[in-house]
């Protein structure tokens, strides 16, 4: 098609590089899936896995029987749902108010929000605040501090600015006040941006591990990521020290692979939806932020 020889060569190598990169991104998952389905007795030496060695569901059965895994799963589900719901709602209310040009003090409030992106109190003052609020060792400490981010507010604001005025004006002429307009007109029109911000927040909450480390003592309030971390840590230590029998360590490896996969599953399930929305979200945010 009019391509020179050099261009065809370039195109060939470009595709080759992309295929290699794609394999590099996918293989770790493949490796974990195959390892987790392998017979624990046959994984002792490690190595390349293209297919499972032997076959066994034992690793999954072990994980699904583990109380701490389920407890972490429950906490993470609860924190993710509560945090995402509260966060998305408050992001929307805040962003809607500052999207209105007629609002007195709009610029001051926008700067008030923007400034939190440039400067922060840091780890210790935030920790001391949670402590003095009496939120240590409660699920509130995992939910509330992360609900609002300047980035999300600005992404949503630029969406609201782009909504057509006429619809809102029409509702106003029919006697609706700002609250009714927001709940009955604006929110139903904003499903796309609510989904985008909601998904971003859900991923953030689901992946959060450090809040548990900072704020939680009781093991039954640990997020799944913290439970998982504990498991991985134990495996690393047992492999380094070596006094454990091979059998124990080897089964730990297949169990580790199975837990990593199960904890990643929710992300993989929402990933197609994420993909649909995130490019737009990241774009708006990068321009405004």
């Amino acid at each position: 098609m009019g391509m020179s020889r050099g261009d065809r060569l370039f195109s060939f190598f470009n595709h080759l590089v992309m295929i290699i990169l794609a394999i590099a991104m996918i293989y770790p998952f493949w490796y974990l899936i195959m390892a987790s389905l392998s017979d624990p007795k046959l994984t002792a030496l490690g190595g390349l896995y293209l297919w499972p060695r032997g076959f066994s569901w034992d690793a999954y059965i072990t994980v699904l029987r583990d109380q701490s895994f389920w407890s972490g799963f429950r906490v993470s589900i609860l924190v993710t749902i509560a945090g995402t719901a509260i966060g998305t709602f408050l992001t929307a209310t805040t962003a809607y108010a500052i999207s209105k040009r007629r609002l007195q003090g709009r610029m001051v409030v926008s700067f008030y929000i923007l400034f939190t992106m440039l400067f922060s109190g840091g780890l210790v003052p935030s920790y001391l605040l949670i402590k003095e609020l009496g939120m240590l060792n409660t699920l509130w400490a995992l939910i509330i501090p992360g609900t609002l981010s300047a980035f999300n507010i600005f992404v949503m604001r630029s969406f609201f600015v782009g909504l057509p005025e006429e619809v809102e004006e029409a509702a106003k002429i029919d006697g609706a006040n700002d609250l009714m307009v927001f709940f009955r007109v604006v929110l139903p029109l904003s499903k796309a941006v609510l989904a985008t911000i909601g998904l971003f927040m859900a991923v953030m909450y689901w992946n959060d591990f450090f809040s548990t480390i900072l704020y939680i003592n009781d093991k039954d309030k640990w997020q799944l990521q913290a439970v998982l971390r504990n498991l991985i840590d134990q495996a690393v230590q047992s492999s380094g020290a070596g006094p454990n029998g091979d059998q124990i360590h080897v089964s730990a490896f297949t169990v580790r692979a199975a837990s990593i996969l199960l904890a990643t599953l929710p992300i993989l399930l929402v990933y197609p939806f994420l993909q649909k929305h995130f490019v737009k979200g990241a774009m708006i945010g990068s321009i405004k932020g």
Binding site: S4, G6, D7, F10, N14, H15, M18, L21, A22, A24, M25, I26, P28, Y31, G46, L48, Y49, L90, T93, T94, A97, K100, R102, V109, Y112, T116, L118, S120, G121, G122, L123, V124, P125, S126, Y127, L129, E132, T147, L148, D178, L179, V203, N207, F209, F210, Q225, A226, L228, R229, I232, S239, F253, R256, S259, I260, I267, Y271, Q275, F278, A282
Partner: protein
């Protein structure tokens, strides 16, 4: 005089008219005050001798004593250097990676193949560092990790990468690039999609091949985006990647891996040395602010649009 009161009156009228908008704004403003601005005020404990019984307000002022203590800490120079070196490597190797990748992705003309590749490349960004660390450990484990299996089939001895200082920074930088390179292309690809196709046509007429078009048409079109992201990265140069280091490091590699943020966590949260840790945090924030300001100035002086 009259007009001034009139303005005030109309402003009050406007605010009354918008009372429901203020109602919508209120919870957000209060939450941000509590969780962002109160901790900013909490920085004062860097200039105090924080006593848990007295609280932030009542603890005695000590001026710059905490900072003197910090700078006299024997490890502080190492920690500062580690932070800077790790960040610097991540910048040198990690910053061009998404640019190159975006240039290559942009040259893919097959829509389906391009979309598939992009989906796969973005995925690691959405995995938590805990999961990612789990994968790294599964690969590098000295007993049953895949990398060591390959080494042993090549007749080499297994290496415990996680505990050898010489390998540790390479491990940090390469896994960081692997995880974030794909996601980093999004902004560049969006900027590239805005390039006028006539420019490529003109370049082709002038006999430019694909590589030359990339160099002379695509790359210049994303220059302003590159500069903006460069400023932001320079502002973050003392963020060497807390989560990643925290999850991967261990006492055997502290000498090359301990960074300001991990130090703040250990000293501040684990040892409850609140004032000293906050001083380290403040030291970091101030340098970051100076850096981002200077980078912005340099970009503006060279005739480009900066961040503000």
């Amino acid at each position: 005089m009259l007009s001034e009161t009139a303005i005030r009156k109309s402003r009050w009228k406007h605010m009354k008219r918008d009372k429901y908008l203020y109602l919508l704004l209120l919870p957000g403003v209060l939450l941000i005050f509590l969780f962002k601005y109160v901790p900013m005020y909490g920085i004062v404990i860097a200039f105090k001798d924080y006593n848990i019984l007295l609280g932030v307000l009542e603890s005695p002022w000590v001026g710059l004593k905490q900072f003197e203590r910090l700078f006299r800490t024997p490890d502080f120079a190492t920690i500062f250097a580690n932070t800077f070196i790790i960040s610097f490597y991540k910048l040198i190797f990690g910053f061009p990676a998404p640019i190159i990748l975006a240039l290559l992705l942009n040259e893919l003309k097959n829509g389906l193949f391009k979309r598939f590749t992009q989906s796969v490349l973005y995925l690691p960004h959405f995995l938590s560092w805990v999961i990612f660390t789990g994968i790294i450990v599964a690969f590098l484990n000295p007993v049953d990790g895949m990398v060591n299996y390959i080494l042993s089939t090549l007749g080499m001895r297994p290496i415990n990468f996680m505990i050898i200082p010489d390998y540790f920074r390479t491990l940090l930088v390469s896994t960081h690039i692997y995880k974030e390179m794909g996601w980093g292309t999004i902004i560049y690809l969006a900027a590239m999609s805005g390039v006028n196709p006539d420019l490529y046509e003109a370049a082709r007429v002038d006999g430019a091949n694909r590589l030359k078009q990339m160099w002379h048409v695509t790359l210049p079109s994303i220059r302003s985006v590159i500069l903006i992201l460069m400023i932001l990265d320079l502002g973050n140069i003392l963020d060497a990647g807390f989560m990643q280091v925290f999850l991967l490091y261990n006492p055997l590699v502290y000498e090359v891996a301990d960074i300001i943020d991990t130090y703040v966590y250990r000293v501040g949260i684990q040892s409850a040395n609140y004032s000293l840790a906050t001083a380290a945090g403040v030291f970091k924030s101030v340098i970051a602010l100076v850096l981002i300001y200077s980078a912005n100035k340099i970009v503006q002086k060279s005739g480009n649009n900066g961040l503000w």
